[in-house]
């Protein structure tokens, strides 16, 4: 008899989600659906607001990655007013941005995704959290994690006023200059961050890579999809979180297209399904062919694994070594194993830490010249950054006074939405067999989306609300057999 399983809420992600699993008569998975059951209204209620308020208003899309929205918005304002921030403003923005990427990636590894590996994918539920991680790696390391997070967040506070919903971004620069004594502190934190990132990578090697079972899980077919990948790259095609061109590679790893963000509408489109509030991005030049992998389907991925696949390398030396190790262990580029995202995230964390050091040491950092005052009449602006969870685009149109008339936001999780849905379906089919369903197996289904670190705070920006995650299992007759809710 066929069944349906629901997972709601999905836990340890920022926001909410829902997975419905339909079983067939043999108790195997017919299809699993990943739903985003919520929507807010940012595009709409941005209308009428002054453009310069957008960095602060849109940061409220997500309190986990406010700095990503803040920065994408500030860059959209640069473009709106056709102003170039002076070198000091660029240095401050990039120092803040890399610090943010560093600490956000650390949050994911230690608090959200890490528990699955460090504590174990089928460990008791009560231990699969940050306290379980500390229990496994030791209280001293736990304290080090807390201390590092605080130092990184203090640095962002120094430049941005607040770390949750910072205020530094203005068209043409930043609001506040840094002083020489600030620079000393920034260098200290950056050096500490590099050490911390190297240490985190070592934990990953020791706990995950040395465990054959984990490596088999990462490379198993249940967690593999051959899709396109997209990410921002610099002039050398190396990963860049703050600026550059968008580069897309095909499932063989060959460059498919490379474009400036102002051309995004030529290359990216969004598909609507009636069963989810999230829209599904796809490559316009390939087209929407449904939830399918391969070169004929426009489905693509963003976020750490995709960024590494879409680039030629890392912009910093130690991260480049880690990048080469990654591809050598996993059998060359591109890597299609979704769970390898956790490793990719740590390599990016190292790169972000090294970049922090570069910008912290920049002589530009403490120049008082932090603003270019706009003079152009505003009309349209587009900005892009790589958020921790992938490519983030803000697009505004305004009247001549700079009041928003229309806005479009493509957030990281939207880019990934189709591949996440496919990953959840594939993982469910891989782990649920002959009607056997337990918490450990359902957690392995959740791991498929947790690897993406999907931010549903961001994904639901279009309307106000909440979405906890449920897994429900239904039989072929549509009877509810099992419901697991991990939040509400």
């Amino acid at each position: 008899m066929a069944r349906q399983i629901t997972i709601d809420p999905i836990t340890r992600l920022e926001g909410h989600g829902k997975i419905e699993i339909f079983l067939n008569d043999q108790g195997n998975v017919h299809r699993a659906y990943f739903q985003v059951p919520e929507l807010r209204g940012f595009e709409r209620f941005a209308q009428g607001r002054p453009a310069e308020d957008m960095p602060q208003i849109t940061s409220r899309i997500c309190g986990v990655c406010p700095t990503a929205h803040h920065m994408a918005s500030a860059k959209a304002l640069d473009d709106l007013y056709k102003v170039e921030p002076p070198p000091a403003a660029r240095a401050i923005r990039q120092l803040v941005y890399n610090t943010f990427m560093f600490e956000d990636h650390a949050l994911h590894f230690y608090f959200l995704g890490g528990p699955d590996f460090v504590v174990g994918p089928d460990a008791p539920k009560a231990q699969r959290n940050v306290l379980g991680v500390i229990g496994k790696v030791g209280l001293e390391i736990g304290k080090r994690v807390i201390e590092m997070r605080r130092a990184a967040r203090q640095l962002i506070t120094l430049a941005g006023g607040k770390v949750i919903h910072p205020v530094l971004g203005l068209p043409g620069g930043v609001a506040k200059a840094l002083r020489p004594e600030d620079q000393t502190l920034c260098i200290e934190v950056a050096d500490q961050a590099v050490e911390f990132a190297l240490f985190s990578l070592q934990i990953f090697r020791d706990v995950v890579l040395k465990n054959r079972q984990y490596v088999d899980l990462i490379t198993s077919d249940a967690y593999t999809h051959r899709t396109y990948y997209m990410g921002l790259v610099d002039e050398n095609n190396d990963v860049n979180f703050y600026d550059g061109m968008l580069r897309v590679v095909d499932p063989q790893g060959k460059q498919f297209v490379k474009f400036p963000v102002r051309d995004y509408l030529k290359h990216i489109a969004e598909h609507v399904e009636p069963w989810s509030y999230i829209k599904f991005c796809y490559l316009k030049d390939v087209g929407w062919k449904g939830f399918e992998e391969g070169p004929q389907s426009g489905v693509y991925a963003v976020a750490p694994l995709a960024r590494l696949n879409a680039a030629a390398g890392m912009p910093t030396s130690r991260a480049q070594e880690a990048y080469e190790e990654f591809y050598s262990v996993l059998g060359g580029k591109p890597v299609h194993h979704t769970l390898a995202t956790h490793w990719a995230r740590l390599i990016e964390m190292l790169s972000a830490a090294e970049m922090m050091g570069d910008f912290a040491r920049s002589p530009d950092l403490i120049s008082p010249n932090i603003r270019t005052i706009p003079t152009a009449t505003p009309q349209e602006g587009i900005g892009v950054v790589e958020a921790p969870r992938g490519t983030l685009i803000h697009h505004y149109q305004t009247d001549a006074r700079g009041l928003i008339t229309k806005a479009n936001l493509i957030v990281a999780t939207q880019n990934n939405a189709a591949r996440i849905a496919m990953s959840v379906d594939r993982a469910a089919k891989g782990v649920i067999r002959n009607g056997r369903v337990d918490d450990g197996l359902l957690n392995q289904v959740e791991m498929a989306f947790r690897a993406y670190d999907p931010c549903h705070g961001c994904a639901t920006h279009a309307l106000q609300g909440q979405m906890p995650l449920v897994v429900r299992v239904y039989d072929a007759a549509g009877q509810l057999l099992r419901e697991i809710r991990q939040d509400g």
Binding site: R44, A159, V167, L170, E273, Q464
Partner: protein, 328 residues
């Protein structure tokens, strides 16, 4: 003696309030020692059934962040209310409606059109598909929650004992509130757990704020180089310091940007936006009503500026009223 039980729950929110709790850092460990956290969905695994199984009033305190828009949020707010002795509205959305409350200035249909309309920027939707409460797929039925027309603050749906203001609440205020609750030093019900004084009063730039009305025109932050020492209002920037409650250590002002009012009003103010508007208007250097009006008319977006965090809890509440008040 068993430790007091406390809970954290989120409704319509961005996750920033949860991050603020994590920012307690070692403080979290102290709190964990002193209390039993029985509900915290973002970081730990709990079920709704666990909450339902609790006796009424079993939690000493429950901190609820986010605004209320869906039926599920309403049910959870009611459940948290019933199961806790003290219900604390945590953060600006729960306290006043918050930035997502600006959605009350537009219609749900307008939102749906912006998001799902064919040809709206990157959306390709020739069949005009919209998310549906129920969808029949080949394998079975899929459902989605429906959304209310308007956003509400927590105390617009259940009685609230205390408010922790801010977007997000400053860490120091969170620690003070938790300690006061644990030690039974409870202020009168209905209190906002923050200093009852306007932000201007303890502002490090207070010395540079002119005594007499001084405003002749308003500037927008991107139009001027902002002096990092001088009162922002004195520079013509619209700073909400005169009308906003203190307690944030002037975080935005330390970032050299004006206060936008996230901690809401001092006590006894029914409508934050109205109070802020009148506080700013009283700084305009004129006794002539027409002149004052002309000066205030330079403010490009009064509703979004004065009611940035408080539209749902304001006297305006929804769009029809906003229009009736000439856009303010």
């Amino acid at each position: 003696m068993s430790k007091p039980k406390i809970g954290f729950y989120w409704c319509a929110s961005c996750g920033g309030c949860e991050e603020a709790v994590v920012d307690l850092a070692e403080g979290v460990l102290k709190v964990v020692e002193a209390v039993d956290i029985v509900l915290w969905p973002c970081a730990m695994d709990f079920k709704r059934s666990d909450l339902e199984a609790m006796a009424d009033g079993e939690m000493a305190a429950c901190f609820v962040n986010g605004a209320i828009r869906s039926s599920e949020q309403l049910e959870m707010a009611e459940l948290c209310r019933r199961k806790s002795q003290a219900l604390v509205a945590f953060g600006a959305c729960s306290h006043l409606g918050g930035i997502p409350g600006l959605a009350n200035a537009c219609t749900l249909e307008g939102v749906m059109q912006s998001v799902y309309g064919d040809g709206e920027f990157s959306t390709v939707n020739p069949t005009d598909t919209r998310p549906q409460p129920m969808t029949q797929v080949p394998e079975g039925r899929l459902t989605l929650p429906t959304l209310d027309e308007s956003v509400k603050a927590l105390d617009q749906v259940v009685p609230v004992d205390y408010y922790l203001p801010g977007c997000p609440p400053p860490v120091k205020l969170i620690v003070d509130a938790v300690m006061a609750l644990l030690e039974g030093r409870l202020p009168p019900a209905g209190s906002v757990l923050a200093p009852d004084v306007a932000l201007c009063k303890d502002c490090p730039r207070l010395d540079t704020k002119p005594e007499d009305p001084f405003l002749h025109e308003f500037k927008r932050p991107h139009e001027i180089l902002i002096d990092p020492e001088k009162c922002l209002l004195a520079q013509g920037l619209l700073c909400m310091g005169p009308a906003t409650r203190s307690g944030c250590d002037h975080a935005c002002i330390q970032g050299n940007m004006p206060c936008t009012g996230c901690l809401g009003p001092v006590s006894h103010v029914r409508d934050y936006g109205g109070a802020a508007l009148s506080a700013v208007a009283s700084l305009v250097d004129s006794n002539d009503e027409a002149q004052i009006a002309a000066c205030m008319a330079q403010i490009p977006d009064p509703a979004g500026t004065f009611y940035r965090y408080s539209l749902p809890s304001s006297l305006l509440f929804k769009r029809r009223n906003v229009q009736g008040n000439g856009g303010v």
